[in-house]
Symmetry: C2
Subunit: 184 residues, 2 copies
């Protein structure tokens, strides 16, 4: 079974070495970890395209080559997960294959949004940000499309509170997620 | 032709009335606008599911019922687009149908990220945030998966600078995008 390892981990220093560590965890559970940084034979139609288009087309091809996805949904530069990762989660969900997600914080979406945005409570008890846009209050971990997509795909979401300074270098929550993904 | 109108517009006050205004613009160009707030016959397997799961399953069904997508990618509570919208962009891209995107700011992704994150320049000229994570410098409008997915899908991205106070209530950029989507 091939598992696409989605996440902003690609932006970490020594990202290739980090991906190898995640692949080692996968291997211990009989899973082949596939990193967005892995090589992929270039399709003829990619010739001459700019680097950013080749990266995206390669990632999409790598996702299509996998049986499932394990996505790092740790909040990234704001209340929500990295949008590149979320794009891939939606992509895999449309392919009908299981998506597993994890995050190294357990603080909920509503609270994280309130931590970063000025909020006003309306007469109906709903919360709105400074621009009047509604703040989701479903008691979920992120925007409902993500969590509902994961559940509907047959995957699972694992969130655990890790000390902030280890948020991007902890592997325990990832391993917990791999364990669940391979215990079916 | 049915066009799914993705975007954080669903969080606006009077979101249903707003969706009707967007549908009117679509109608002028011969397009049927489909809002995430539209009714959809409930599938039998949705019975008893919590509201957030029904909303997500309905949105996915509405997307599948459409020929193309027009996504509001205006930055939302951070440097990037709303993650719910981006999930839907990735979903539609995996279905192989065209995705058109628009935004009411023309400031690029790198600059928006620098505006919101403390950045450090490495010896190799790359920029990293305060946690050491790389800041993309491709000269794009958002994370490369989004823009590359739109281009590869046969769609287009339209960004125009609108005064901040009209960022969520302007319809001119949306209309420009609809015009392009229907001029093929």
């Amino acid at each position: 079974m091939r598992a696409y390892l989605a996440g902003p981990d690609i932006f970490l220093p020594d990202a290739v070495a980090w991906a190898e560590r995640k692949k080692s965890v996968c291997a211990r559970y009989g899973l082949i970890g596939v990193s967005p940084l892995d090589d992929m034979p270039e399709a003829p139609e990619w010739a001459g395209l700019p680097e950013w288009r080749c990266i995206a087309l390669r990632n999409e091809a790598l996702i299509r080559s996998c049986d499932l996805m394990i996505a790092n949904l740790t909040p990234f530069r704001g209340p929500s997960a990295d949008v590149g990762t979320v794009y891939e989660v939606g992509f895999m969900r449309a392919l009908g294959r299981p998506v597993f997600g994890y995050a190294t914080t357990a603080v909920g979406f509503t609270q994280r949004t309130l931590n970063s945005a000025r909020a006003v409570e309306g007469p109906d008890g709903t919360l709105r940000d400074g621009e009047g846009l509604l703040i989701e209050q479903f008691g979920l971990f992120d925007n409902l499309m993500i969590e509902a997509g994961i559940v509907a795909s047959g995957g699972a979401l694992v969130v655990e509170e890790i000390a902030a300074e280890h948020r991007w270098t902890d592997l325990s929550v990832f391993e917990h997620c791999v364990r669940i993904a391979t215990s079916g």
